[in-house]
């Protein structure tokens, strides 16, 4: 969930009133936001770098507000204020308009076909006659960063570039070139670099190095030039220094290059709708023309208003309320979804503004109505759904066996389903290839290399972590292991196992054998060949030679028991003899 930090006093000023922290927290809760933290620049620095570093830092109160991941329209002060003011019915939602420039000649961005190989889409727009203040400027930069981190997926999907239009001249060309052929002075650097040099320069940059991988291996890098060959930006890495915006910038050219056109349009809409209120003619955005390699042209930003028609009955039925059509239209209007009752009085026509890209279905509108009504005002009812409960037979059996194993003197362990290859193979004197293990491709540490194929290693690790406890240790676990299985759609299946260990000064084979007899008794399997159970000597590298037996029940091999190999004991950093039982309980369902 993205967190937006805003200056409290600035926020209250914009909201036209002050709130206590509790009141504001309450307002956030109602609106689906969360006042996560109340802090200051100074607090943050002092917490992260110590008090001395924090000296002289600002102690202006900051509110850190958690915003739902799909509400890009609430990622800056401007958007938050607009959303809350409309919600509190202090203002009407503004209407955003795309306008043509005074001279009738829109800025043009020409996309060449070379971009197809790396980053094929681009959209653009102009904010004309904008007035920045320091706060507005900071907010403008911060919104780009928030969008980059969220909807832009760390610039992989979209990269935003903003430029002082008065320092460059169109038409602009969006193309892609081999890195050696791109040369410019990047933002905040003193000299020119080639793209190749930039990539190595930014290898150590704490911020930019995270984006290098997006184009690093491509034969050509995306780049935008103006008509004089000045580089605007090399997306998604860095802008040119020449066209950088400042507090004095009056006209802003915004371009978004992308691998996902739908999201690029959303991001451009967000950038312009959030800041066009500071233009000379508020809430207007000057269009720009994008020319595609095939000659097609498109005007941006889209700023599309979409209409949906739905009935009050639909909302009442889904939410569980019975409000009039008029009232529901009012509720939706509070959520920036301007709504009117249709002429027949039955339906509601809802207008979805370009800022609400999260509304893609009638159910999203229904949710907004429920939020505006107040979730906690909805009567809590009991559904009349009649059903009879059933346990999953496998879990029912596991539950019953657990109780009886504890009654037999064994204590239940709960070990991890993920572990290292070593745990299930080398340490148990097995070869990993014979384990049928499922392998994880992106483990952060060796602890998560494979899904376990046996419960034994987890139990032995539990014994090792509890060596100080009085002997004997008797442990068991009934849980799932994971095995590769070609017959399943995903190529693997779980297998429910029962595993127990006895750890003492003497191996206690008879103890573990007795436990196995008890388990068979509980499962109503009698000793004997054929339909009963019996054990017979077996070879298993995990066990001490001559001290391992295979268990057969109703003619099927279900597992093993025996005294563990001394090397296994050593591998788990244990010192005493240990006997173990490991069986599959699924045949007993």
């Amino acid at each position: 969930m993205p967190t937006v930090s805003v200056k409290r006093d600035l926020l209250f000023h914009a909201l036209g009133r002050t709130y206590t922290d509790e009141e504001f927290d309450e307002l956030c809760f109602e609106f689906g936001l969360e006042l996560d933290e109340i802090t200051s620049e100074k607090d943050i620095i002092s917490r992260e770098q110590g008090d001395t570093k924090a000296e002289g830092a600002s102690d202006v109160i900051l509110y850190k507000i958690d915003v739902p991941a799909n509400r890009y329209d609430l990622l800056c002060l401007e958007g938050l204020v607009r959303g809350l003011q409309v919600f509190k019915q202090k203002m009407e939602a503004p209407r955003y308009r795309r306008v043509s420039p005074a001279n009738g000649e829109p800025q043009r961005l020409v996309i060449t076909e070379e971009t197809a190989a790396v980053r094929p889409h681009a959209v653009a727009a102009v904010l004309r006659n904008i007035t920045f203040t320091l706060e507005r400027y900071d907010s403008f930069i911060e919104l780009q960063e928030k969008l980059h981190q969220n909807v832009c997926r760390k610039r992989t999907l979209i990269a935003i570039g903003t430029h002082d239009l008065d320092t460059i001249s169109g038409p602009f060309t969006y193309t892609a070139k081999p890195p050696g052929d791109i040369r410019f002075k990047p933002l905040n650097q003193a000299k020119e670099y080639t793209a190749q040099e930039l990539m190595s320069l930014y290898k150590t940059d704490s911020h930019l190095r995270h984006y290098l991988h997006i184009i690093e291996d491509k034969p050509v890098y995306p780049v935008i030039y103006d008509s004089n060959g000045i580089v605007l930006s090399m997306p998604p890495i860095i802008n040119g220094d020449h066209s950088k915006i400042s507090l004095n910038t009056k006209n802003v050219f915004i371009e978004c290059t992308a691998t996902d056109l739908t999201k690029a349009k959303i991001v451009l809409d967000m950038m312009v709708t959030m800041f066009c209120e500071y233009c000379e003619e508020p809430f207007t955005v000057e269009e720009a023309e994008v020319v595609y390699p095939d000659g097609r042209t498109c005007l941006y930003p889209e700023l599309a208003y979409r209409k949906e028609t739905l009935s009050a009955d639909f909302i009442n039925r889904k939410v569980g309320i019975s409000e009039s059509t008029e009232h529901i239209a009012q509720l939706l209007t509070k959520m920036c979804l301007r709504s009117e009752v249709t002429s027949d009085g039955e339906q509601i026509e809802v207008e979805i503004p370009p800022t609400r890209s999260d509304v893609i279905h009638a159910c999203d509108i229904m949710e907004d109505a429920a939020m505006a009504y107040g979730f906690n005002n909805i009567p809590r009812t009991t559904p009349r759904t009649y059903t009879v409960a059933n346990q999953l037979p496998l879990n029912k059996l596991s539950e019953l066996l657990r109780q009886d194993l504890a009654a037999a003197g064994f204590t239940e362990a709960l070990t991890f389903a993920l572990c290292s290859q070593e745990d299930i193979a080398d340490k148990l004197l097995k070869n990993i290839s014979e384990t049928r293990a499922c392998h994880i491709s992106n483990p952060k540490t060796a602890e998560f290399q494979v899904a376990r194929t046996t419960l034994l290693s987890g139990l032995l690790k539990t014994v090792a972590a509890n060596r100080k406890m009085p002997l004997p240790l008797r442990l068991f676990e009934i849980s799932d292991v994971v095995l590769k299985d070609e017959t399943k759609d995903v190529g693997a299946r779980n297998n429910r196992r029962l595993c127990a260990v006895y750890y003492n000064k003497s191996p206690g084979f008879e103890v573990i054998h007795g436990l196995m007899d008890r388990v068979m008794q509980l499962l109503e399997v009698k000793p004997g060949q054929g339909n009963g159970y019996h054990i017979q000597a077996a070879d298993d590298s995990t066990f001490f030679p001559g001290r391992c037996a295979e268990i057969f029940a109703r003619g099927k091999s279900i597992g093993r028991l025996g005294v563990l190999h001394p090397n296994v004991i050593n591998h788990f950093e244990l010192t005493m003899p240990c006997s173990a039982l490991d069986i599959d309980i699924e045949p007993f369902l």
Binding site: L405, T411, F448, L473, V490
Partner: protein, 497 residues
């Protein structure tokens, strides 16, 4: 048991006196160690009210080591006089004797001896008395016989100053008859035996009382794991509410069922390498219901079922990627798809409690795997109010009565609500779960009828368990680093109390 003879002697003495007697006096008169009498008193006390003994302390005088020596051999000054022959003795020779120095000055002040300083051959000492009365020794002998009371306080203090006497505090018992006083005692039995039961002899026997202050012997038994005890209770709650358990025994899931079927877009950050465990072997799932897969592709990339869709290039390769499931909702999706394939829809209530996996940064409250509790209800005409009502009933069974709901975002539910409960200890609202209505973009491609609503909620099993059992570090609860003593000691789990 103290010496029976001594106990009986003591009882007879107590019988003879009217008031009572002091254990110290008894010891003196019997000529036994006081501790032996104390032992007898204690064992009589254990028999019940035979005697009553009140502890008291008294002071008395005792000889010091030096005092004992004097009582035996005479005072230093007396010994000086005795050791001097008629013809006298050189002073230097006298001073060599052990008692010489002290004896000389005392004998001088008693005028029992005289010193001739000018004697030829050095100073020489002569005795001036033939017979002497060694009063110091006499006094000490009196004290030794226990007759210190015959001396005056001043005399005793003088001897104390000379470090010949010391005053000691003695603890003793004042013994009187008890309500069940008797001079004969029966031997106490420690335990009831089968023979006593057979012969009926237990009726006459007295039994040694138990020490109820001591702990009992711990039973030799196994123990269930606390987290799984809590799991059992949650299962029970769902079963009481009529929910059927889902088969969640498939840790490995395809991205299709874990994400795509839930209308979670392919660029969603949850599908990132940083958040989810992907598999290298078996890397891909190879079997999907083809027409359903096509509907899922369409609703993501083009929309439909009343939705705008996400409008991106949906790739089968992404959907095929095998992962360790990140939520049990993947199983709910399979179950709902299965339900949709029934000829006629029937309402269902499902639940599951099982492991899920996240490739996250680990800390004191987060592990790479945890247990998710999930409840799902599918029926015609369910409302948001129904979801809140059912959550109210569910949490009531956990002993949580104050609930409120916060709007939230989740890719596969709309509306989505975070569930908060008021924590009396922390005096604030804390999040206890997540809930919502599954999106039509998830349900309709499965083939569920239009009017069917599916409501669901989820929470983790670890958090309520940690709160219940007061555990701060999740590693002490889950995994091999568990503290077995904690497992042994954990109480039964009643979630509502």
């Amino acid at each position: 048991m103290a010496d029976t003879g001594l106990v009986e002697t003591l009882l007879r003495r107590v019988e003879k006196v009217d008031g009572g007697l002091d254990s110290q006096d008894v010891a003196t008169s019997l000529g036994v160690d006081h501790q032996a009498i104390v032992g007898a008193v204690k064992s009589l006390q254990a028999l019940g009210d035979v005697i009553s003994a009140e502890q008291r302390s008294s002071k008395h005088w005792e000889l010091t080591g030096e005092g004992c020596e004097i009582a035996e051999q005479g005072s230093h000054e007396a010994r000086v006089v005795i050791s001097i022959p008629e013809e006298g003795m050189p002073q230097s020779q006298l001073m060599k004797l052990a008692f010489g120095k002290v004896g000389f000055s005392k004998a001088m002040s008693n005028k029992w001896i005289r010193l001739d300083k000018g004697h030829e051959g050095g100073p020489r000492i002569f005795k001036t008395v033939e017979h002497l009365e060694d009063l110091v020794r006499d006094k000490l002998l009196l004290v030794q016989k226990g007759q210190a009371s015959q001396l005056e306080e001043k005399e005793k203090n003088e001897l104390k100053k000379r470090k010949l006497l010391s005053e000691v505090t003695v603890k003793s018992y004042w013994i009187t008859k008890g309500s069940c006083f008797s001079t004969t005692i029966t031997k106490q039995e420690t335990e009831l035996t089968p023979e006593m039961i057979a012969s009926g002899s237990w009726k006459e026997k007295k039994f040694k009382p138990y020490n109820f202050e001591a702990m009992g012997v711990a039973p030799d038994c196994g123990h269930l794991h606390p987290l799984l005890k809590v799991r059992t209770q949650f299962r029970q709650i769902f079963l009481e509410m009529g929910f059927t358990e889902m088969p969640t025994n498939n840790f490995i899931e395809s991205s299709f069922w874990n994400f795509d079927s839930l209308f979670q877009p392919q660029q969603h950050p949850a599908r990132d390498q940083h958040d989810t465990f992907f598999l290298s072997d078996p890397a891909q799932a190879h079997e999907f219901p083809q027409d359903y897969l096509e509907r899922v592709r369409k609703v993501h990339s083009e929309g439909g079922f009343g939705s705008q869709g996400y409008k991106y290039d949906w790739k089968i390769e992404e959907a095929q990627k095998n992962i360790l499931r990140t939520h049990t909702t993947a199983v709910s999706a399979r179950m709902l798809y299965k339900l949709a394939q029934q000829e006629k829809f029937t309402p269902v209530k499902y639940f599951s409690i099982d492991r899920v996996f996240r490739n996250e940064t680990l800390d004191a409250t987060h592990l790479a795997e945890f247990h998710q509790i999930e409840g799902v209800v599918a029926d015609y005409g369910l409302t948001l109010g129904d979801l809140m009502g059912i959550l109210h009933q569910f949490f009531n069974k956990l002993g949580i009565t104050k609930l409120r709901f916060k709007p939230a975002y989740n890719p596969y539910t709309e509306p989505s609500m975070e569930v908060f409960s008021y924590h009396e200890g922390l005096k604030k609202w804390v999040e206890v779960g997540n809930s919502g209505m599954f999106r039509p973009e998830m349900l309709l491609p499965m083939g569920l009828p239009e009017g069917v609503t599916v409501i669901a909620w989820g929470l983790s099993l670890e958090r309520p368990t940690m709160i219940k059992y007061g555990i701060n570090n999740i590693r002490e609860l889950v995994g091999h680093k568990v503290n077995l003593q904690m497992v042994y000691d954990s109480p039964v789990c009643r979630l509502d109390s």
